[in-house]
Amino acid sequence: MSISICNVTKTFGKFKALDNISLEVNDGELFALLGPSGSGKTTLLRIIAGLEIPDSGTILFHGKDATMRPMRERRVGFVFQHFALFRHMTIFDNVAFGLRVRPPQLRLSKNDIRDRVMSLLHLVQLESFAGRYPSQLSGGQRQRVALARALAVEPQVMLLDEPFGSLDARVRAELRRWLRRLHDELQITSVFVTHDQEEALEVADRVAVTNEGRVEQIGTPYEIYNNPISPFVYEFIGNVNLFQGRVHDGVAFMGDVQLPVPELAHAKDTPATAYVRPHDLQINRQYQSGLALPAKVVDIRTIGPIARISLMYPGNNKTYEAQITIDRLAELDLRIDDVVFVSASRVKVFLHDTEVQSLPEPAAQPEVKKKHSKTSSDLDKV
């Protein structure tokens, strides 16, 4: 079932939780609402569930207005952040709850309920835990019970509020893949809320990035990561280096570097920021060709297969970060205080105003003018 959210606004007192939000979740899709805390994502999820009523705007389920439809008629499965299992009931009774509270004429027989609950517990691999209480299970197991309980009522939409938020890192990664497989198996339209960009990018078909009650960008994980349309999305998704400068007549001046930005030709001496991902920076010992900047290695940290290199631009104290593979690090044999040449394969420049300009993706060839190249010898071995 598809979900349409049209111009939804919600305020709590003076706090504007949602500011005229519109988005569309397609049938059978696994959709992520990604944003920092306080960005309104949980409020939106609760509005879809019927736990909150929007101040204005409408929610459509499969094209039909469901804004004021009572929760019981929405057929929505909701998984709460802290699972909200009924602590005084066994796992079996928890999962059976939704089936037992149905009006008598719609209620299944005792045996049918039993079969249904057991098959759901089988689905979440917890059959042997039917007689236990929630407090006797681990976090990951409780999460799966919460899912089974929500699935018991045959929801047409699954809503998950920070589904992995209160689990430790390993269980989280495991459950993430499990949830994705489960979704592919059941094909229920699902929306989940998260503040963890990695989680959203890994699991979801499409992602909406929210900020201060508004949607910043909607797109596939690939689009969101590789083509962020606003500085906020750039900074929120993944690490990024920021370089301050100005844009004038289609050229960005970032310190000693000049980049052509034909899309920003209209800008006249406007302050701007260039965004470069750490893994879009290449490090070379020698000046190769094209445009590269000299930099001093300040710090080297290895995290598993990758290495994070802190670099300092000669002449000022600002450091930025490059990310290379361990193999490349060994090849370069980098040491702290070495002077190297850094070039960027992808740069994006945003002007400092509300107007957002972006470079077409393949054209993002940085032209790093190397004023310093000839002086590299005096920078050698500081």
Binding site: R72, F86, R87, V101
Partner: protein
């Protein structure tokens, strides 16, 4: 019998010891314990023993006669009835108030919580007087009540009203922190699973607060049966008509019928003892439930 000395390997396997400075010396500990026990004995155990020994001083026959005396029986019945009504009413009120305060956001919530505490702050005598001023013959509603031949003051309704006022906070006060700590997550989960309001209350909320509720009821009941001040003001001390057990004890005592007074008092003390036993049993169960609910907790 000869004690076998425990063999200790040298150098290792020391006794478990507490670091010096973390505990008092043996002498101080003994002194503190003896002091505490003496205090408890003097102010709690001794009076209790006196009550029962005085009650049985003139023999068991007198004891039985004093508590089966028609006036005493009226007092027992009145006390039980008063407790029953006020506990029931305050149970419903307490659950409703705690539910409203903990599950909803509304204007004036803080004021409502303060208001619930009012009976704790007001002297029982003042509480009794309030009802006399409201319903007494010269009170606000007095003329109207006497016109319609309704008697509240110096009658059973007054006694029940005063007791209800005094015991109002107990159930609500017990439930509010409990329900606050439990939050609304489980109720919301029940609603998303298709339960209606009543199903949510009876299947989810009530089982979660059951022990806390019982605890509140027991405290409320103890106070309802023992209340003296407020009841004394509104009852009018009509012997065999409007005397509850505490008032009956006072009357007997003032008439120098010590054995009978203590016999009735012993009955009240017994009820109190039962309450305390029930309370500690519940406290223990409640504690156990809490520790099961929070794995990794104490």
């Amino acid at each position: 019998m000869k004690a076998t000395p425990v063999e200790k390997p040298q150098g290792c396997l020391r006794d478990y010891r507490i670091a010096p400075g973390l505990t008092e010396s043996a002498r101080v500990r003994v002194l503190l314990i003896v002091g505490a026990l003496a205090y408890l004995g003097l102010f709690l155990m001794l009076p209790l023993i006196v009550v029962f020994s005085e009650a049985l001083q003139k023999g068991f026959a007198v004891y039985v006669a004093s508590i089966t005396n028609p006036d005493a029986l009226v007092a027992i019945r009145l006390t039980l009835l008063t407790a029953l009504v006020s506990v029931t009413v305050n149970l419903v009120f307490g659950v409703a108030a705690a539910w409203a305060i903990t599950k909803f956001r509304f204007w004036g919530k803080g004021f409502l919580i303060t208001l619930i505490d009012l009976p704790f702050a007001i002297s029982p005598v003042v509480a009794g007087l309030i009802f006399v001023l409201l319903f007494g013959s010269r009170g606000w509603f007095g003329p109207w009540l006497s016109e319609h031949n309704i008697k509240i003051i110096f009658a059973m309704p007054g006694i029940i009203l005063a007791t209800m006022f005094i015991t109002l906070p107990f159930v609500a006060r017990e439930l509010i922190p409990l329900m606050q700590s439990q939050g609304t997550d489980e109720e919301e989960a029940a609603l998303t699973l298709g339960a209606n309001g009543w199903q949510t209350f009876f299947r989810v909320t009530l089982p979660n607060i059951a022990w806390g509720l019982l605890y509140g009821i027991i405290l409320c009941n103890a106070r309802a049966m023992g209340e003296f001040g407020a009841v004394s003001v509104v009852s009018g001390h009509l012997r065999g008509v409007t005397t509850t057990l505490p008032l009956h004890v006072e009357i007997l005592y003032n008439e120098y019928q010590f054995a009978a007074a203590f016999a009735v008092a012993s009955l009240l003390s017994l009820l109190a003892l039962l309450t305390i036993i029930a309370r500690s049993t519940l406290e223990w169960r409640l504690h156990r439930q809490m520790t099961i609910d929070t794995p990794g907790g104490p």
